[in-house]
Each structure stands twice: as C-alpha cells, then as structure tokens.
Amino acid sequence: MIERLVNLTWILVGAAAATLSWRIGLTGPYGPDSGLFPFVAGLFVAAGGVALMLARSHATADLEWPDFAGWTRILGVIGALAFMALAIPYLGFAIASLVTMIILLRTVEPGSWLSTLVLAVVSVAATLALFVGLLDLQLPRGPLGF
C-alpha cells in the first residue's frame, strides 16, 4: 500500500515538474534554457514511477514495519525535532533543546526522571559549549537571554 503511494508520488511529482519546466522554457539562444534539465529529470521520475507501479519484481520483499512500541519511539523522535524547529524562535535554542531532549529521552527507552533531567542538562550544556564556546557560533536566544 505504502509502496504504491510512493510510486504514485513519483508519477505526480515527475509530471508536475516536467509541466512546470516546460513553462519555464527548454531551449534558449545559447542552448539549454532553465527548464531543460528539470524537464528531463521530471520525465525520468514520472516514467520510473509508472515502471515501478507496473513491475511487481521491483516491489519490496518481506517489508516489515515496526510494532506499536517502535512507532511510538519513531514518532517521539519526529515530534521532538518538529517541536524544536517550531520552538526555537520563541524559546531560544537552550530551552527548546532542553525540552526536546526530555521528550527524546522519555520516549526512547525511558529511564528515571532524575537521569533524564541530568542527561538532558549535560548534553545541552555540552552542545552549547562546543558550538557557542569553542566554535563561536551564534545560536538564537530566548526570552530569558539564553
């Protein structure tokens, strides 16, 4: 089911890219225009999607998806990263990453709350020390000034 959806995505993305590229223009006075390369690539992507849809021999054999606990951990990681990308502008890097670390540590193989907090604080502090202290990188600051 998911494989068919992915194949369909290739067809739609490839066809859309080829159409948009055609509108940009394929050739100009000095050879290829901006649309030529993406047009050809789009056609290949769409044709590949059609071929994968038709050719059963290329379907994934013994495809296994994770169990409920596995999905919980995966969604925990994705959710934590999405939270961080959303929260950085409002909370600043330090607080956003601390909360993200707590989400990550509680979702994947959770330990005690104390070890979670200690590990979260230590790893955020180490990251800040490496990037801000050592490599002199400016990271977004939050309302508390860090």
Binding site: F37, P38, L52, A55, T60, A82, L119
Partner: protein
C-alpha cells in the same frame, strides 16, 4: 618524482599542531563511530559535517577523511566482541572474529584486525600517492566538453553502485537531478520550483538534505528496535599476534590490501564489497576451508585489510576526477563543495596543498589509528557499555545545531526533518539513497559545463565527438549503459553499500 615533492608539500601542510590535533580527533571520533553499532560512517559523517564548517578547508576535509578511515578501523571491535558489525564493511569479520573471542582469543583477533588495517591502509595510501598524479596529469587537459563527458560517466557509474532495485536507483538519480534544480538559475535568473518562497530561491541546502537523508533516517531505523547483546570483553589479553598468527595472516593481509585497493577504485566497489570478496578468496585458497566460520584468523586478517585498503582506492576517483564511487566519497565531495572548493579534474593542480594535505594526513592518520586501536582497546570496550538511549539524543542535538549553523535559517531544520522522514520510508522500501546524493552534487556542475560547451561550440553537441577525451568518455558511458541494459534492470544483492549496519 612529482609524487614525492607533492607528498612533502602535503606533510608541510599537515604537520602543524592544529592539523595534527584535528587528524587525531577525526581518527578518535571515527573509531568511536566504528565501534558503536547503530551509527555507520556515512550517517556519522553527515551528522558531524557541520562541526568542520568553522575550520579552514584543509583542516575540515582532513578531519572528515580521518573519521571515514577511523570508522573502518573501529568497526572490527564490535564485530569481534559483540557479534554486531559496527559498520557494514565489518559484517564479515563477525563470522570468525566472534568465534575467536568465544574461544578466548579476542585479543589476537583485535590485534590482527588493527595491524592488518594499518598495513593495508598504509599500502593503499602509498599506491594513492603514486597513482593519483598520473590521473591528475591526464585530467589537466579537460575543458567543458570533457567535463560534461566526465559527469555523464560519473552518473552512469552510479548505476553500477546501485544496490537493490536498479529501477528504484534510477528514480533516485532522476530525483537527485530534479531537486538540485530547485532555486534561482544563476545563468538566466529564472526561478525554478521556488513557488515564490525566499527560502527556496537559494536552492535546497545540501547539508540539511545529507543530515536528514542519512543521519536522521538512520536514527529512526535504530529506534525501531532496542536490542541487547552479549559483550565478550571480560578478559582481553595477547593483543600482539603470535608467530603462528603472523604466518597465517600475512598473505591474507597482502591479498586483501591489493584486492581492496583495486575494488576501491571501481564505482560500486568500496569497503563492503572488498571485505566480502576477500573473505571468499581466503576461503578458496585455504588448505582447510572448513575452519572458516569457526575462528580462522585469516577470516579476520583478509577482510579487515581489504576494507581499509578500499578507503585509499576510493579516494582516487573522487580526488583526481571529482567522481565519487561510494556514498561516503560522495559525501566528502559534498563537503568540498560546501567548503567552496570546486571538485573535478583540476582540483589537484589548483589546490595541491589540499590534495597532498589529505594524502599526507592519511599516512599520519594510520599511525594514530594503530595507537588508538591497540593500547586503547580497553577504552572502546568501555564505550560499548554506554546505552544507545544516551548516545542518540546527543547525536540528534549535534545534527540540529549543525544544520541550523550552516545558513542560520530555521527552514533548513524543516528540510532536514522532511528528508529524514522520507529517507526512513525509502530505506524501508529498499531504495538505495546514495545515487540521489551523487546526482544532487553532480547535476548543477553538469548543467553548467553543458552550457559552456554549447556556447563554445559552433557545431552544437557534436563537439563531444570531435574532442578525443570527451569522445572516449562518452563511448565508455554508452558501453556501460548497454551492458547494464543487457544485464537487465534486475535486483542486485551485493556490491555498493546496501544499508549501513543498523542493529
């Protein structure tokens, strides 16, 4: 002679306290990554790429290269002590290495793996030193038409490194070309697939894509299952091989070195293929093949030598011609691009300091790695006791900061996340992601060279047949495509880098 003077230049560059320290740090981190099951060298390089940004190009690339060959060294430790490959090229070492450990010979297995890796690594860098300038001399005659032919050959060679379904690999190549076109066309000023977004007008960030596709997807695969294994590391003694061990291992090491170097040169060869073929060869030439799989030291010495020698071999096409033959070298090529260095045939002439600095660093790195892997083996054993739940959030944090730091743009974090999730799904569906990366890096260079070619040619595309080097490269490409079609777009079970070990 040119090689020797170049090498002296390289040592002049590398033998500074800062570069030596970075080479040591890269070797250390690489070994650590190789030792730890779950994070392969490709994912690790992707995740650690941002740390090298604030460094000068030579220091950054030296550190990345050290991480690569350090991971090759370290991979054997986990194979021998845990029966889990630290990285995919050490899969075959599990067979006899773990059996040796069970028989109380973990020290001998670890010792022969480290010494074999050192001998093979050094021999392959010696070959790289003398072989690369010959290729570089030939490459100096390249103009835009030859570059077009070379890029096409690079893309065609990518077909040969596809693991699994070739059709899926082709889709990945086309998708790589397509996504490389997102942004403003620098020649015409036309916007391509930006949909009015300022974030997209500069194109998709290579680093965010690499970290997402290879790093985040690897972590998502790893957190699927949390496994526990038995560590056979209570008593490691006798790291230095006995006379009998030497006698049994020397020939496999030398055979593995030669085989690994040659396979490293070939696109789709690389460390994994080299280690498997070396094991098969040793089994074939052994007087008693039935010992293999039961703790034969040749089954550790040959493959470990081969996978390390392949690292030196795989550096030749990427440093001399700008064509990566393996996913890791494709990432190193990407790192050069990010550092503002134009990879390609003129790289050796235009940046001899960088080229020879990398070569010299490999000599130095091999010595560091021998020290790290023999006297400090106890440290790596302790590292194996650190739970994965402690390591992966730190790695994730590094990847987020690294992605953000490249452009100071939060949009890149979303790109990273999107490619991470896509990479996870595609890897579950057994898509080989390395061709995507190679196409993404090569496509803009190909487009630019093709435009230059057509501007300088009164006969249009026919100029490709009028220039001998370009014509030969195009002919080779046609032959390779014809052979591929003849073989059929079938599924390959070996070759290339299938998936990094995620256990």
């Amino acid at each position: 002679m040119e090689a020797m003077s170049g090498l002296f230049t390289g040592f002049g560059v590398i033998l500074t306290p800062e570069n030596l320290l970075l080479c040591l740090a890269g070797s250390f981190v690489g070994t650590m990554i190789g030792v730890l099951p779950g994070i392969g060298p490709l994912a690790a390089l992707a995740l650690l790429l941002p740390i090298t940004f604030s460094l000068p190009p030579i220091a950054g690339v030296v550190m990345l290269a050290a991480i690569f060959y350090g991971a090759m060294y370290g991979g054997s430790t986990t194979s021998i002590l845990l029966n889990l490959p630290g990285e995919a090229a050490s899969v075959v070492t599990c067979r006899d290495g773990y059996q040796m450990a069970k028989q109380g010979r973990a020290g001998a297995a670890l010792g022969i793996a480290a010494i074999g890796s050192f001998i093979a690594g050094t021999l392959s860098v010696v070959a790289l030193t003398f072989f690369a300038p010959i290729l570089g001399e030939w490459a100096i005659r390249f103009g835009p038409p030859e570059n077009v032919a070379l890029m096409l050959l690079g893309l065609v060679c990518t077909l040969y490194m596809i693991t699994g379904s070739a059709l899926k690999g082709l889709v990945m190549i086309a998708l790589g070309v397509l996504l490389a076109m997102v942004g403003t066309d620098v020649v015409t000023g036309n916007e391509r697939f930006t949909f009015g977004s300022i974030d997209l007008s500069g194109g998709l960030d290579l680093l965010a894509i690499v970290i997402g596709l290879f790093g985040i997807s690897e972590i998502l695969l790893n957190v699927e299952t949390i496994s526990k294994s038995t560590l056979l590391a209570d008593k490691i003694r006798g790291l230095f091989p006995t006379r009998e061990d030497w006698k049994a291992s020397l020939a496999p090491m030398l055979r593995g070195s030669g085989l690994g170097f040659l396979l490293g040169l070939v696109p789709g060869g690389g460390p994994i293929t080299a280690s498997f073929i070396s094991y098969a060869v040793e089994q074939r030439v052994a007087k008693d093949p039935s010992r293999f799989g039961k703790g034969a030291i040749e089954g550790v010495a040959g493959p470990e030598a081969a996978n390390n020698a392949a690292v030196g071999g795989s550096m030749i096409p990427v440093l001399s011609l700008g064509i990566p033959g393996t996913p890791v070298t494709a990432l190193l090529l990407g790192a050069l691009v990010i550092q503002g260095i134009q990879p390609g045939p003129l790289f050796m002439q235009q940046r001899p300091d960088l080229f020879w600095g990398i070569v010299a660093s490999m000599y130095v790195g091999n010595v560091f790695l021998l020290i790290l892997n023999l006297p400090l083996v106890g440290l790596w054993v302790q590292l194996l006791r650190v739970p994965y739940r402690v390591l992966f959030p730190i790695v994730l944090m590094l990847s987020v900061v690294g992605t953000y730091s490249a452009n100071k743009n939060l949009f890149d974090l979303w790109v990273m996340l999107a490619f991470g999730v896509s990479g996870y799904v595609l890897r579950k569906l057994q898509y080989d992601l390395a061709p995507f990366l190679i196409a993404f890096v090569l496509a803009p260079l190909l487009e630019q060279s093709l435009r230059q070619t057509l501007v300088m040619s009164p006969d249009g595309i026919m100029i490709m047949t009028q220039r001998p080097i370009a014509a030969v490269l195009i002919a080779i490409s046609f032959v390779l495509v014809a052979l591929m079609i003849r073989r059929g777009l079938t599924t390959r079970k070996t070759g290339g880098i299938p998936h990094e070990a995620h256990v």
